[in-house]
């Protein structure tokens, strides 16, 4: 029995999103969706987090940041790519400063589609992230 499924703490970073998905991630915490029902807390700090939600695709400058944040999370940890940009680069894939989806930089466990991703799908993505978290825990334990 592990406590991870009952207390997955999330942490959000805006790689180079247009704000749409960020706002929807935050909206998940608010009364309409209330992620805290599931014991989910938005920590704001990689060192406390189990699940990293990344919105937006990576660009030249934030590659380093995304990697740092991922590295600073203690194991086991899961990455959820939220929105089309985080999955593949989305509409900006053709822009000169965009490197592509988040999976070019850190391993991604769950992809949440949408532009912008809806809160319902973000919650679904987090729940799938919990399953991945449990699996990773089993592997390391």
């Amino acid at each position: 029995m592990s406590f991870f499924s009952k207390s997955p703490w999330i942490f959000h970073y805006d790689a180079s999103s247009c704000n749409g998905c960020d706002i929807e991630v935050l909206a998940c915490l608010t009364p309409f969706y209330d992620l805290e029902r599931f014991g989910i807390v938005n920590t704001g700090n990689p060192k406390h987090a189990d699940i990293l939600l990344i919105t937006g695709s990576v660009n030249e400058r934030n590659i380093e940041i995304v990697q740092n944040l991922y590295r600073q999370m203690p194991d086991p940890k899961v990455v959820v790519a939220v929105g089309a940009c985080a999955c593949s680069g989305g509409i900006f894939a053709r822009a000169y400063n965009i490197q592509g989806g988040v999976d070019k930089v850190v391993p991604v466990d769950v992809y949440v589609p949408g532009c912008a991703a809806r809160p319902e799908s973000i919650i679904d993505g987090v729940v799938q992230g919990i399953a991945a978290l449990e699996q990773k825990r089993k592997k390391t334990a």
Binding site: N59, E60, R61, Y96, N97, Q99
Partner: protein, 164 residues
Amino acid sequence: MDREPFLARVEGYHKGGWRLALINAASVLTADEAEQGAVDVTWAFARDAEFEHIRERIMPGDEVPSISPSFSAAFLYENEMRELFGLNVTGINVDLQGQLYKTSQKVPFSPSAIRARLEANAAAGIASATMPVAGAPAHGAAKPAAIAPAAAPAPAASKPGAAE
């Protein structure tokens, strides 16, 4: 460009209570050999509904004087011009040392970078804009004199740019 008259005009706007609305650079895409590598820079000022601008054509190697001594807010635009267009802006009050944007392509908005990208696109068969070719009237001539802010059915206030 003529440095002194330019700075005098900017200072005139400053004294007149104008607000710096925008500094915009645009690479000149032309087939004309003499204009290769040129960048048009527009300094726009606003005072309520009034909206005026100064335009200068900056040739490669030209120095662009910073207007941050008059308008301190100019530093963000000027750092941006320097990083994205490779313009040599001198005397900025807040020098961000090329760290405003860190782009994978250096000076991505400069004429040469644009040319290189467009040529690469053409070679790879990717649909994209094309560079004008000398002698071929492919592109309609831009009509710079007709600039007026769309939001304001501007009165006679809009003066033509200095460069014309």
